[in-house]
Point group: C2
Chain length 839, copies 2
């Protein structure tokens, strides 16, 4: 399954994508509500550790085997629990990011080792008669079931479960059950809570420390002891460990308690030291006997509360959880997920493998956002330490739409998480000589942590991304209170930044320009008038101005508060309107496309089809200067703008832009395929839309980027939802109107989903011939279907017949070479050949 770096964006090679070959059905049987593995493999451990991770947005446990070894990367994470370090720049400059931030591996509660006749169960060597591992999307539980024949001939069934609770945010719950099938033998279970930060078996960290494979997408390796012991104690059978991070001074406590069920008298002994608590259960078992251990583990972290106070919180979590009991908690978990699926499920009827993959992706959204509350959603959620556990724009552009339309309460919390960063964003803007606020490109604690400004700090669009998410949340909810406070302050400070960053050209046209920024495409950096940035900044400026006018009109008290709290002035509103109206939107008359930036179309075109597979992704094989001077994209940029600001462009403009940029988009970023799918669907490239969708859908399940080991590509899971609902479902929500202009793939029978809208819940069912809109609660709602305005009321479903579903263009856009744009391939030079010709 580990295919090495793939290329989901660019469609070749392997077109069409083989969905049946993506997951071996022999090993991963089709199940619409679970991901199941029926064969153990140590070949792709890192990938399956990610695919079978359990998490709730706050706490996450990778899918390591209970026995601990062998593992690619052990990993247990608490969202936002990080260490800081001083970024050393090889050549420093003013304003470069100074504070590195890295998600810390918290003590691992997953370890439950089994010894029979003192022989350890070790899956890589064990003789297993049966084996299955199953992540159930409805129970929210990872289950493993195997029958082990030990070297001495004893046979046992070993069943285990693992869940991170959605209802008890700080709780992980595990069970481990051994049933003797044949033979009599002494059985020992060693259940641990292990801080392995400095341990020798931390393969991943050791590798990183070697400085080998400097993949910028991996976490920074810390070279000091991070977790300083502050607490290690026993109270009854309950063990506590507490720590403080050496530099960030964040604190953590964890506690673990076991329940043992056995008809007999097992010896149970627990010991604890600074880095480990170990509970040993020992007994002798005969056929028919079952030994079951239930393990409750609680984690609390803080920016500074002493570890012993956090230990008290762990105690309360454990008290409550133990009182509720494992089975009660499992019920709660099921109920929580039942509600989640009712709000969030997307049905793709009659295509079970697709349905399974869709639900795996949606389940990852639950695991990334379920109890995230006022934290961000990291690039990998809490399933891995890729990108150091940092929050990017992924949250706002890729995850927030899902939240706003299925779980607006969570969407509000995510926006508050950004709002809480405003003071630091103000400081950062000032450091960069600008007014207003500038959000960090990547961060955990609010400080800019991007060590490479060209593909980091220069992405000034982050501000507008935040406002776009807030605006979408407001469309979905109409949350006036949020608008007047957090929303308004965010809009004001971000608009101030753009108004100050841009400038009017002193020419007749008085156009407004933004120079020296990087758009979403990181294969082109620090450019002038990046279309995406200009469009999003215009949106931000307008949205801020309009919101202030609405508030001034409707709620003078709120307006006065803004004048007082953030110094809002009436003139600013006019200034924002003026800048928005004058915003320069570049257009190329000859090619009839919108340039990605003012110089983009002047560059040489990189011919991707002549670039060998082993040179992908480009960023690992070419110097940035080589990449930057060509027309080649890491990810959708103009095309993303055509989606996020689509209301300002004609269908024809969108199509031409898509046709121009699609052939030069590598998709070396996992954020690209879903966007390319949505636009392809809208402009009519139906087959291509499906191709990109599949690549987004399987980015982790088939490890298409080659780095699923580092954690789930959470943005892509959000993108899968968007592709289904906004791409195929054709949903848009602009200027206060919820609309549908569907694009159901030709061989799909039915797509169903539901949406939250201004307090109502709307069910959408789409077939090849009609769309059915059903109010589940609230309403009525005014909705547009294609060009038709319909009212959906609670009385009965509204059925709208669809004559067709948009234009259909067969195949794919032509290569640029075929439309007269000359391509160029950055080449490799064999200097021996070149300089010493044969004599």
């Amino acid at each position: 399954m580990n295919r090495g770096p793939g290329s989901p964006g660019e469609v070749d090679p392997a077109y069409p994508f083989d969905i049946d070959g993506a997951l071996d059905p022999g090993r991963f049987p089709i199940d619409e509500w679970a991901l199941e593995e029926t064969e153990y493999s140590s070949e792709d451990l890192g990938t399956t550790e990610t695919l079978f991770a359990v998490a709730n947005g706050y706490l996450g446990l990778r899918g390591n085997v209970e026995e601990g070894r062998i593992a690619h990367t052990h990993g247990s994470f608490v969202n936002g629990f990080h260490e800081t370090w001083s970024i050393q720049h090889a050549e420093d400059a003013f304003g470069f990011a100074k504070v590195g931030q890295t998600l810390v591996h918290v003590p691992d509660p997953k370890l439950i080792k089994l010894y029979v006749n003192d022989e350890p169960l070790l899956l890589s060597e064990a003789d297993c008669e049966e084996y299955s591992r199953r992540l159930d999307f409805r129970t929210g539980t990872l289950e493993r079931d195997l029958v082990w024949r030990t070297p001495s001939g004893v046979r046992l069934r070993v069943r285990s479960t693992r869940q991170v609770s959605f209802t008890e945010r700080h709780l992980a719950l595990m069970t481990f059950e051994v049933t003797m099938l044949e033979g009599v033998a002494p059985v020992t279970i060693s259940s641990q809570l292990l801080n392995r930060q400095d341990g020798e078996d931390e393969y991943h960290v050791a590798l990183a420390a070697l400085g080998e494979g400097d993949d910028p997408r991996q976490a920074h390796a810390l070279d000091h002891r991070v977790l300083l012991p502050r607490l290690s104690k026993m109270r009854g059978h309950r063990a506590y460990l507490g720590y403080r991070c050496a530099h960030s001074e964040m604190t953590l406590a964890c506690a673990v308690e076991h329940q043992v069920e056995f008809k007999g008298d097992p010896r149970v002994n627990t010991e604890v030291d600074d880095d480990r608590s170990k509970t040993i259960i020992h007994t002798r078992m005969s056929p028919g006997q079952t030994l079951k251990v239930t393990k409750f583990a609680a984690f609390h972290s803080s920016r500074g509360v002493p570890a012993d106070e956090l230990a008290d919180r762990c105690a309360r979590t454990l008290d409550r959880s133990i009182k509720r009991g494992a089975s009660g908690l499992a019920d709660d978990q099921r109920d929580w997920l039942k509600d989640f699926w009712a709000r969030s499920d997307v049905e793709v009827t009659g295509r079970p493998r697709t349905q399974q993959a869709v639900r795996w992706n949606l389940f990852q959204l639950a695991q990334a956002t379920g109890r995230v509350e006022e934290h961000g959603v990291a690039a990998k959620g809490v399933t891995g330490d890729g990108y150091g556990g940092h929050y990017f724009w992924d949250t706002e552009i890729y995850v927030m739409p899902f939240c706003s339309y299925t779980n607006p309460r969570q969407a509000r919390s995510l926006l508050r998480f950004r709002y809480m960063m405003l003071p630091k964003a103000r400081e950062r803007a000032s450091e960069l000589s600008q007014r207003g606020a500038l959000f960090p490109w990547r961060t955990i604690n609010g400080d800019e942590a991007s060590a490479y400004y060209a593909a980091g700090t220069a992405q000034y669009h982050i501000n507008a991304d935040v406002v776009h998410a807030a605006s979408q949340y407001l469309e979905a909810t109409g949350d006036w209170d949020f608008l007047c406070r957090e929303g308004a302050e965010l809009a004001i400070e971000t608009a101030r930044l753009y108004a100050d960053l841009g400038f009017y050209k002193p020419n007749g046209t008085k156009s407004f320009h933004i120079f020296g920024v990087t758009g979403p495409d990181e294969y082109t950096t620090v450019v002038n008038d990046n279309l995406f940035t200009n469009l999003m900044a215009r949106f931000n400026l307008r949205r801020a101005a309009e919101a202030m006018e609405v508030i001034r009109e409707a709620d003078p008290v709120a307006y006065q508060r803004l004048q007082r709290v953030v110094g809002l002035r009436d003139e600013e509103i006019d200034e924002w309107h003026k800048a928005a109206s004058a915003m320069f939107i570049p257009y190329d008359d000859v090619l009839a496309v919108h340039p990605q930036d003012d110089a983009f179309l002047d560059k040489e075109v990189w011919d991707l089809l002549d670039t060998p597979e082993e040179k992908r992704p480009l960023l690992l094989h070419y110097h940035p200067l080589v990449i930057y001077r060509h027309q080649v994209l890491k990810q959708a940029d103009v095309v993303l703008a055509m989606f996020l600001q689509g209301e300002y462009f004609t269908q024809d403009e969108k199509r031409r832009n898509f046709e121009y940029y699609d052939p030069i988009t590598t998709g070396d970023s996992s954020l690209s395929a879903c966007v390319q799918s949505i636009l392809a669907a809208e402009v009519g490239y139906a087959e291509l839309a499906l191709e990109y969708f599949k690549r987004a859908l399987f980015v982790d399940l088939a490890d298409l980027q080659g780095n699923t080991v580092d954690g789930v590509h959470v943005a892509s899971t959000g993108g899968v939802w968007a592709t289904l609902v906004q791409g195929f479902g054709g949903m848009r929500d602009t200027w206060g109107v919820l609309s549908f202009d569907p694009r159901l793939p030709a061989d799909w029978d039915h797509l169903g989903f539901s949406l939250h809208r201004q307090g109502a819940r709307l069910r959408v069912d789409l077939t090849q011939s009609e769309i059915t809109l059903t109010l589940i609660s609230g309403g009525p709602l005014q909705v547009r279907v294609v060009d038709q305005r319909v009212i959906v009321s609670g009385d009965a479903p509204t059925v709208v017949t669809l004559e067709d579903q948009g234009p259909v263009i067969r195949g794919r856009p032509p290569r640029l070479a075929d439309i007269g744009v000359v391509p160029h391939v950055a080449h490799d030079v064999d200097i021996d050949d070149l300089h010493l010709p044969a004599t």
Copy 2:
């Protein structure tokens, strides 16, 4: 004298520059042939250590006091003797420089401590009745003379001298002479050779290690023991130390021997350990008695020869030097410098302070290049470790012209130093996906060491700079043998790089463009069609093509050798001609100036006059993104192109370009003032030309950049020569014609200098009314003076009357604001004021 960071480029503040105030005449008396200090000060130790350094291009000793303390930076250097280290990028990418290189401090031979009655002479505390320190430009010797009254009332005269020999390249020679004036006392001299790399008194290294003041212009601090002891031994009174660098594996040996002259029987004892040899001379002195110690120190280094073999070389150097004797060596030194001054002196008659400063600068050129041979000339020569001892384009553009016209043999060696780097430059080009060769922006060993590609690797003009220097050398010498071998190979590989780097735009004009490069101005990076780069690349392509045609015609054997050795093909010559002819040279019709790059004139103009002094230099106070998005220059770029490729531009074009760019040039680089002076002189801004000249002249003497502590700004010393000869003297050498179009400053009476030209030596004397050309040897020469062709023969001086000396424009170019270009100031935001208005 330490004025903090100044701003030589931008004329305000302090216009006109106060040449009399630049050096306090009370402390630094005017002397046309020496820099003398008559008062000791510990206030500006770092600066005077640099100003009084002695060096020969190979070996350099900073002007530390003999007693060792107190010092700002101890420093003894062997050109090219460096340690390597692995560059850690905060965020790595393919092709980023990997091997850091840092000039190593070699064991310090300068230490000669004096104790009288066991009381140490310590200048910072000593009661000195007389004091003077004098660096004599004709003897090449640093002399100190003082009378010390010790705390116990004894009076002594202490005289010392220090020289680095120009005739014995590996030798440093010191004398230390104590004469008892009053009192009788025991006197001890402790003369040492001290490897202080890990010593506590290495203030500078310790400071850097703290990571404070991350000034990218300072050397990288190494955190490991660099010099691993390989040898430490005594043979008679001669002590040897030998080392190997931990990572670079370069080797070094040094040896020291003393001669003691005293009428009496002093005890002399020498001991040696791994890091120190110490010779103690002890005696009792009475009034009238003189004790004199002569110290010979030899240094040899290598890329790998074992230290004991290098020790043998030291032995031979010492044997020969001791045989010649201190006084013989002093004679040799004087003779060598007599020849140097005959070739290199520039006379500014009747302006003694200016003359003194000019000679100090020229003397620095002797110290940087005298015996450099096939090493490069580092940014600081061998007078400090600023910029890590790296070689930049400084060698080719700022130092080579001086060498080519005064010491062509040395110029040839410097070109061979680049030629020896060709294999690594080929590898680097390949790594950057290009054909041909790409020289590193900064290096010692040939590997790119620039850790910040935007202001390093992206400066692709380095290739053409090398070819420009080679071409100038060829004009000056007509060295056919060099042209056919090293010169041709350099031209071919560099032309290949540009032919491959650039591309033809697929439009009607078929113009040739170079994208994604940085020009000389590091306040604007990674741009398209940088005028300087395009012009210099065009020059390189043409020069290569023409040279190949000449060789093909005149020396078929040499041509065939090039075909064989570097695979030269006839078609390439056509390709280079074609690319050169099609090279895009941007021009702006509206402003009637040449844009620095295709986007430069679209940016906002940075208003330097509204930028407070404490925000200078900009690079230490603004994020690169802020600087990059404005029209503001670190150093001359278009203006430098107008000088180096001046034959392609009209006087009017040059003036307009100068007028546009000069007001937005900060001069934050010391490479700028001389270039601005030359162009100002040419286009008629005579006063301004003189201002910039003074700033270049005093950049170190008045510490105008605030970092003279890190070593001499060698490029600026070359720029002083160029300003005198090419700026005021108006010398050019293009298309085979040596020409003069003088611009003598209005209040100067006479400027005299001599030039080497195709084997002849030409003396030039310029007054306000005429120019006199005298052949010293060789000739006859055809020369152009203004528009007049004259033949200079050996018969008699040729006198040409000058009607005037070019146009004269009073004052300075107007601010851009005054010609309608709207300036903008990057501002600081007091976030408290802004966000919390007074209630």
